[in-house]
Amino acid sequence: MSARIEARNVSKRFGGVVALDDLSLDVAPGEVFGLIGPNGAGKTTFIRILTGFWLASEGDVRLDGVSVTRDRFRVQARLGYACEQPKLYADHSVDAFLRFVGGLRGLHGAGLRGAIGRSIERMGLEPVRGRRIGVLSKGFRQRVALAQALLHDPPLLVVDEPTVGLDPAQQIELRRILSGLRGTHTVLLCTHQLHEAEAICDRVALLDRGRLAAIATAEEIRAGAGLEALFLARVGRSAQAEPAT
């Protein structure tokens, strides 16, 4: 079970600042789709519009034909979101936190227990299951964030900078997990790590100053000079200020 994303002419303004400018893209079901770009390119803005946290100024995003502007709750039911710098409740244990998220997702009883068990097993959280999130390392917290995003087995998984702060082993493990979802889930991966996008994504979209600068498949990237060359060619500089948000 996976989901299709269709974004059409999505724009987002904050006063005079344009965070997204007429962005259109499609993500096919079962695809691992990467979203890269410099700081302030609009990646997180797009994700927040997709997840229904913010409203688009213009345009719309649809998930399996369901408009996030008009029916965000149906969209939210079909996605799991692990945001950058995981927003977790430090005073909860891992188990309690997953139970809480499961409750929000409509899971209960045996179904909830099973889902928690699977998430914990998939993310390797068994050793820290009963520990308070506040005392966990960054790596484990990232895993908890992913675990809660996958708890209800959503067709679409949205992850924003999942490997920031992780050690190399953890990064490899996480990439393996995300790659493993290919085909059964759609994954929208937002990342600064070009090699990471190159390694696991089927397609990559490059955003720059709110616009879609380029979009390429993994084969095209490998056939060309690589993602870094593409980035430099289309963006042309290494840093850019974030629009005011």
Binding site: S11, K12, R13, F14, G15, G16, L55, A56, S57, E58, T69, D91, R132
Partner: protein, 520 residues
């Protein structure tokens, strides 16, 4: 949120708090006012700055969402305000007091229904919202407004009492005054019994009959000189009493037709049959007001009143404490300012509502006729007062500084209530209560002094109490908490440890345990 509105709110808070903290010292002052004004200004400036910084919504969808949210809030606010306004007239309530203190009795409801059926002129209860007892009385007064169609409630403040009730507003304890057609009744303590009694009095088609005993050297009711008492009769008539003279109680009618009999300082003995007639009349529930005076001798004082529990030993009260306040100070001129705070005759009077009594005879209490009778001293001289039995010496101002008869706070007035069986109109036995008020001075009611200070209030209170007929509706004041036992020392200490320490300690330990578990 910017700094300015937060600072402004803090200033408003300080302004309001400082006003509350100091208003008893100096009312409304500049410091709180300045804080509140400046605080409001800062809040407005901050809000304006924020409004200017607002760049508008980011799109049509945002605008729709924002406007819908604000519209829902506005609709909710209007609905809440509308409900609040509409519900002000709702009277549905649950009275959960043990004795249903704020639920009107069946007798009161019957009286209200009777008033409604008869189409009687409406009675207005003037309720002083800022009176001392207002908070306690509001619930009860509101019950009258809800249950009695012919009774309306009018809110008033002590700074501007309504015209008709102004004269009756005497102390800050005055809470309710009942008025009908320009005639007002002070009610007294705002209990159901007193309010209903006032309604009864005002709605009564018959004015209470006051008979003055005449023929034994009593005061001259016809005289309009300073020493006369025409003002006394006029005052009672103005207050709705039917004033008549009873030329000797042995006359055919006797006192039986009287609601109140006033014996205004008789100077001679009554006939034995007159004493017997009065005695029988009192036994059947009669009501009598007696004015005495030093030097007067009559068997009314020595026989009748003594039998009913009043000892009017001859003498005059000498009180140096009252003198400095008068223009012509004399220790014989009493400025009476000590009153029994809870008796119906005296409870509207206080230290600020004094009564002037020149040459006053002490009214002491003797043995009460029956165990259930209640005798109470209702007005007193100060603790420095004493009684001089040598009138000549006292009137000449030669009372000794110390006296063996010094008794401290001698009473200048007393009242008695006597539950008795009586006979109803159809000859059936009925419960009745005899009442007597004895005041040790007659001059305070003379034309010269009746308008002085609060002299007329004492007199009217006595007349009203004597004329009131709560027994008709058989309402008793509802019992308050019956158990008034004080705590023992051990209980006090135990309560303190439990309330102030043990319970908070338990909570704190629970918190520490929860915190430790969290960290573990």
């Amino acid at each position: 949120m910017s700094l300015l509105p937060a600072a402004g709110l803090v200033m408003i808070l300080v302004g309001v708090a400082s006003h509350y903290a100091t208003r008893s010292l100096q009312g409304f002052s500049a410091f709180p006012a300045a804080n509140v004004a400046l605080g409001i200004a800062l809040v407005l400036v901050g809000a304006a700055a924020r409004a200017r910084a607002f760049r508008g919504f980011s799109g049509a969808a945002s605008r729709r969402v924002a406007l819908r949210a604000l519209a829902i809030f506005a609709a909710g606010a209007i609905a809440a305000i509308g409900l609040g306004v509409a519900s002000r007239s709702w009277t549905a309530r649950l009275d959960l007091t043990v004795d249903r203190l704020y639920t009107l009795s069946d007798q009161t409801r019957s009286l209200c229904a009777e008033l409604d059926r008869s189409g009687a002129v409406a009675i207005e209860l003037v309720f002083f919202e800022d009176a001392l007892l207002a908070k306690d009385a509001r619930l009860l007064v509101a019950a009258y407004g809800a249950a009695c169609p012919r009774v309306s409630i009018r809110d008033a403040s002590r700074s501007e009492p309504p015209a008709g009730a102004r004269a009756l507003y005497t102390t800050t304890a005055t809470t309710v005054i009942a008025c009908r057609g320009g005639v007002c009744d002070p009610v007294g303590y705002p209990s159901e019994r007193n309010i209903t009694a006032a309604l009864l009095r005002l709605s009564s088609e018959r004015s209470p009959r006051v008979f003055f005993l005449i023929g034994h050297g009593e005061v001259d009711l016809a005289s309009e000189s300073d020493g006369g008492y025409s003002g006394l009769a006029a005052l009672l008539r103005d207050q709705g009493f039917d004033v008549r003279a009873l030329v000797g109680p042995a006359a055919a009618e006797g006192p039986a037709g009287a609601d109140v009999l006033i014996a205004a300082a008789p100077e001679r003995d009554l006939l034995p049959e007159e004493i017997a007639l009065l005695d029988r009349w009192l036994e059947s529930g009669g009501r009598m007001l007696v004015l005495a005076e030093p030097g007067l001798r009559s068997n009314l004082y020595s026989d009748l009143l003594l039998r009913w529990g009043f000892d009017l030993e001859d003498g005059v009260i000498v009180d140096a404490a009252a003198s400095p306040l008068l223009e012509n100070p004399s220790p014989l001129n009493l400025l009476v300012h000590l009153f029994a705070p809870y008796h119906p005759v005296s409870r509207t009077l206080s230290r600020r509502t004094m009564v002037l009594m020149p040459t006053t005879r002490p009214v002491a209490l003797a043995r009460k006729p029956q165990p259930d009778d209640r005798l109470e001293r209702i007005a007193f001289a100060t603790e420095r007062a004493r009684v001089d039995h040598d009138l000549t010496r006292a009137l000449a101002g030669r009372s000794p500084a110390r006296s063996d008869a010094a008794i401290g706070e001698p009473a200048v007035a007393a009242a008695g209530s006597y539950p008795r069986g009586g006979t109803g109109a159809a000859g059936e036995a009925s419960a009745a209560e005899a009442r007597i008020v004895v005041i040790g001075d007659r001059d305070f009611a003379s034309n010269r002094l009746i308008g002085a200070l609060y002299n007329r209030d004492l007199l009217l209170n006595a007349a009203r109490w004597l004329a009131s007929d709560e027994s008709r509706i058989a309402l008793t004041d509802k019992a308050w908490t019956p158990n008034q036992d004080p705590l023992t020392l051990q209980q006090t200490v135990a309560y303190f440890y439990f309330l102030a320490f043990a319970l908070p300690e338990a909570l704190l330990l629970l918190g520490i345990y929860a915190w430790w578990r969290q960290r573990a």
